[in-house]
């Protein structure tokens, strides 16, 4: 479905635009529940900001409701969903980031970064092994030199770091 029904009719697709206000409302309510019983110094700032935020969202919802009422807009999620092909790649990239973060303590910085780079480039359509290997090795190697060998940050160490410790 390259174009939505709403798009064909020239309506503004406002459904996706309600996600941020919905998240903001949810977070504001949660914030209020955590500060409600605290002293005024601890809650004054959050309550003031939260009420202003809710008021702004209220105005926005009224504005959106008016657009829907006049038939100028729909609750379509088109801007967030299309193009579908890129969406599959995006979800796969997000999954690979999650796996990267979870695997980092076990594989160490260098190996995890190299594998993540290979996975991310494969997901985005790089098939030739030469760029896959050279780019991922360069990034992981450069990262090792900058972050671990030079700046000595405490990135999780794995087999490669333990091996390279003999040289650096």
């Amino acid at each position: 479905m390259p174009d939505s029904e709403a798009g064909k009719q020239g309506k503004k697709a406002l459904g996706a635009e309600l996600i941020i206000p919905a998240l903001a409302i949810g977070f504001t309510v949660y914030y209020f529940t955590t500060v409600w019983d605290l002293s005024w110094e601890a809650k004054a700032d959050g309550l003031a900001i939260g009420w202003i935020l809710l008021a702004l969202i209220g105005v926005y919802l009224v504005k959106t409701g008016a657009c829907l009422w006049r038939g100028e807009a729909s609750l379509s999620l088109v801007p967030l969903i299309f193009p579908l092909g890129a969406q599959a790649q995006r979800l796969a990239l997000i999954a690979s980031i999650v796996v990267f973060i979870l695997a980092l303590p076990y594989l160490g910085f260098t190996l995890a970064t190299a594998l993540f780079m290979v996975a991310a480039m494969r997901i985005l359509g790089v098939r030739s092994p030469k760029p896959l290997l050279t780019v991922s090795a360069a990034v992981a190697g450069g990262g090792y030199l900058l972050f671990i060998a030079f700046l000595d940050t405490r990135f999780p160490r794995g087999p490669i770091e333990h091996f390279l410790r003999w040289f650096f």
Partner: protein, 507 residues
Amino acid sequence: MGWDTALLVDLLLRSLGQWWIIVPAVILGIIVGAVPGFNAQNVLVILLPLTLSMDVERALIFMASLYCATHLGGGIPAILVNIPGTGGAAATTLDGYMMTKKGQAQQALVLCFVASVFGGLITSIAVVVALPYLAQMGFYLRSVEMVVVMLFGLTLIAVIAAQDTLKGLIAGFFGLLIGAIGTDHIYSTPRATFGFLELYDGVPLVPALIGLFAISEALAMIEEKTILSKEGEARARTATWAETIEGLQIALRRWWQLVWTAFIGLVIGIIPGAGASIAAFVAYQQSRVFSKTPHLYGTGHPDGVIAPESANNGVTSGTLVPLMAIGVPGGSTAAVMMIVLQYHGVVLGPRLFIEQPHLAYGVFVSMVVAYVFMIFTILPLARYMSRVALVPTQFLAPLILGFTIVGAFAPREYLFDMGLALIFGLLGYIARKTGYHVTAILIGIILGPLFEIYLIRALRISQGDVRILFSSPIGNILWALLAVSILLPYYRVWRAGRHGTGSRVGS
């Protein structure tokens, strides 16, 4: 202490003689500034063993040069891939990245370099001339005035996201509330931490910055083959040295813009705690408000690159003013410098100007020299750096993700922060796709903790009476200027409407 030409000439010659310290510090600073997640403070802490072992004068020159260079380096990824290397370069993305998309990356980089260097140079010279007087400024800006300065930042939210001011305000206040996560400043009671100990100190800025800008940008850019428009790609492929010269000419033609925004940075830098992020946004907004072409901001306008870059480098000398003059560091990097100076037995404060003038003034003179070295080091590289924009997104997106996600780990060394960066990345992606400006969310997160500190301090002084916010003459002048900043764009639209050339505010 009065003006002493002989001392300043001597300091200048001594600083020039330290080129072998300044050049590596500048190169390291540019690299560090360009890598999101790293900043001068991190690196100076890491390099403490080195600086502590140096002679105090050399240590100070090294630290000041590195510090200045990080402010310049932060603008490079902001322009090339829409990812600010430091918080101070976040405002540079607004027009810098748009210039890159149009194939003008080389000019944008040159504008950034020239604005950074001359902004830093002018303010460093100004500080050398007026240091004892500037130091007094910190005494006049108290919590009430700071609340108004913070509100200046808040107005940016509406102005920057002017395609739809209401959505800009929602994004900004959402960011402010996220910035209010963590323990409160009086009783240390946790608020909205979702049960995570890692959030007790508040939302860390680096993962938020990396998520909102880098991860969301990488997730968004995969829909296209390159980040450039078709015309932009054609232009970028045929770019020559002439583009560097053109960028230089554009920057020099806008010298006045460069000067006054640098002084905004200097003044904000002097206020302890304010910093480059706020200075850059305030300068961007003020530049837009007083511009004859405000509608061009956000579309790749040179002034939109010059203003924030000039201001965030104006901050560098500003943050060192209270450190040298009254012994109060103006920012976290200045605090690290203070540790090194105290280790060497240097007593900071007014006596420093009498007892060790070569140190008090020497640091600013060395900044002047560092900026001079910087322009010659970095300007010839603009042409080659701009080639980054031609890299296909199937390589660029993984490179951005690989480098920046690990950057989220670096400041606090928590794996939690990498997950936090991903969450902010998803939030930023949704915001980008639905017209909520990620910059507005980031401004909110940056300003949130500072705003709370000053607001609560003012309210505690008045025992909860909000009229205290209108009790200071300086504060009231700032309120009036704030009102002018908000109303001026509407007045312009009204005036344009009367002349039959009507347009929306900010559109």
